[in-house]
Symmetry: C2
Subunit: 350 residues, 2 copies
């Protein structure tokens, strides 16, 4: 597809603002010659950076924004005083249709709250889902929700499946992603009510989804399925536990390797190898907020220019894909499937 796309960017987001975001835009621009950009933020600071990248000249438009959402601002505060910030304007450009997707490396809670207010949800889920690309032996598994929605009934979980499946296809180019539900065992009777009911709805075959059943915590690393669905509470605990495990094991390993002279020598030799493995476990460069009427991709606060470029790449993939329409189609099926599961209670003889 070569249709011209515009990505709206919060140029002040992240720890380094325009000095990292603009080089990130330049990188993305080289990869995708048809892409255009709206840069929101302090005009003077942005222009100074743009001067170093003359190739961007005709592809970038700068929109001055007086203010910036602070990295430590509470979401409620960001909502109250967010209007006029670079983040707010970046999202508004998606709402107005000027841009087909947006990217920010700013405050996550504020970005979620502002995106929710401006774009609203396209599904019944209350707040945008947080998604993580989980590294495994065979590649990346999409895991959601990893923290936004902590209370989830069966329908919520099925909606996450619909969102995650469409996202994984758009972002990773897998024609028919496989989907699983995180549980404490593989058998039908395992787990709590919500997860068993979601399993039963997903298994009904009513959706355009390749559902494969339950997945356990250790199987996340085996890429047993492409998309793993869980509530925001369990997902957040699992993600943080994995991060904690990586840090702990790294530390133990360093201590163990330092405990003798031969091991110390080994450490020197092994260093190059260790670097490689840490790269895989680095925080997410490009995390979409799923379920909104519009594409929003966040990068982490410490994002590098390469991370910003990765987030832009993901935003443009999502904007170019059919994922919004696919989600809508499956959501209609969900409504039908749920109606079938719960026939009118008061009415007539069985």
């Amino acid at each position: 597809m070569t249709r011209s796309l515009t990505i709206s960017i919060d140029a002040m987001g992240g720890d380094h603002g325009p000095s990292v975001v603009v080089p990130g835009v330049a990188l993305a621009a080289t990869e995708a010659p048809a892409l255009r950009f709206l840069l929101h933020g302090d005009e003077r600071a942005i222009s100074a950076e743009l001067a170093k990248h003359p190739s961007l000249k005709d592809r970038v438009e700068v929109r001055h924004a007086e203010r910036v959402v602070a990295m430590d601002e509470k979401p409620a505060q960001a909502l109250r005083r967010g209007k006029g910030t670079s983040m707010w304007s970046a999202i508004e450009s998606v709402k107005s249709g000027e841009a087909q997707g947006s990217v920010s490396a700013g405050n996550t809670g504020a970005l979620m709250a502002i995106s929710l207010l401006i774009l609203r949800m396209s599904v019944d889920v209350e707040r945008p889902c947080l998604v993580v690309g989980w590294p495994g032996v065979k590649g990346i598994t999409t895991v959601l929700d990893v923290g936004a929605n902590v209370d989830c009934d069966a329908e919520r979980l099925v909606e996450f499946a619909i969102l995650g499946e469409a996202f994984h296809r758009a972002a990773h180019g897998v024609a028919k992603p496989t989907v699983g539900l995180l549980n404490v065992g593989a058998e039908d009777m395992k787990g709590h009510e919500e997860v068993r009911q979601a399993h039963s709805i997903l298994r009904s075959g009513k959706f355009d989804l390749d559902y494969r059943g339950f997945v356990e915590g250790d199987e996340l690393f085996q890429n047993k399925v492409d998309v793993v669905v869980t509530d925001g509470f369990t997902g957040n605990v699992a993600l943080k536990t994995a991060e904690g495990a990586a840090r702990y094991i790294g530390g133990e390993l360093r201590a163990a390797l330092n405990s003798s002279l031969t091991s110390k020598l080994g450490m020197l030799f092994a260093k190059a190898g260790l670097m490689k493995f840490r790269e895989k476990l680095s925080p997410d460069a490009a995390a979409p907020l799923l379920g909104l009427n519009g594409v929003v991709v966040k990068s982490h606060g410490g994002a590098s220019d390469r991370d910003i470029a990765a987030a832009i790449r993901m935003a443009s993939k999502l904007a170019q894909s059919d994922f919004a329409a696919e989600i809508e189609r499956n959501m209609t099926r969900l409504t039908a499937a749920v109606a079938e599961q719960q026939p009118p209670a008061v009415d007539g003889a069985a």
Copy 2:
């Protein structure tokens, strides 16, 4: 304390039966000269092993049991046909008072079901809690429940706190263990209803517990508190995710270290160090089933003689401690605390 204790042992449990269990008993006997043992299982097989350990002669009594619970038997099946098995008899000796604690390396589901049927619960929790000793930078954190009770309201979580705190003191000799609740953030308003309500009950100060508030997944490895409480669903996912992370990182590391000749050399040197770190992550040698009227400790199916000895050591620590009385005391306080939180709804003017 030198009071004579008897530990009842399922000599047929685990992958290797008496050939590993009896040497394990011999190891434990050397460490604790006052300990006595009841060994349940095939008399001939046990006696053959006992002949190799003459020092055990006056300290062991063998109780013949015709049958064995298979490692792959379903809990329901084990309940139906369990009577007369070595596992069943080992637990019955605790019920009858002949033994003060029991150890089995057999089928976990069957052991839980049989223990529950014979000993019953001492608390309101439905099934015995599964506990794990989580390795961290400063030592071991007790985490529960890791799989037995997947549906937990606030009261259940508080009971886990009571059980885990008393267990940690008895097993690890910490006079006043600190307690935390696993959650997705540190602030009071974080998490779902159940975890917030449990937080409020524990914070009331009505218990003899050093409660420290919420703990996040990555903090499990930092030993931020001695005891971390969670529902069996989240606990099981966290545990399996940590196991999966260890396996994945180990594999990635091997691949990375093998990718170049210098790294390969490094791998050779580092091997001794790597061994050390894996030991810490090995499956639990001694896991108590908490909340029963009696001490039951399980070891894993592949238990070595040292693992069996560790399980015996834990069973005798628990049997010698006041943990049952401590649990009872705090359970009485819980009843009072809950009654205070929910004043009679219909009755009279405020």
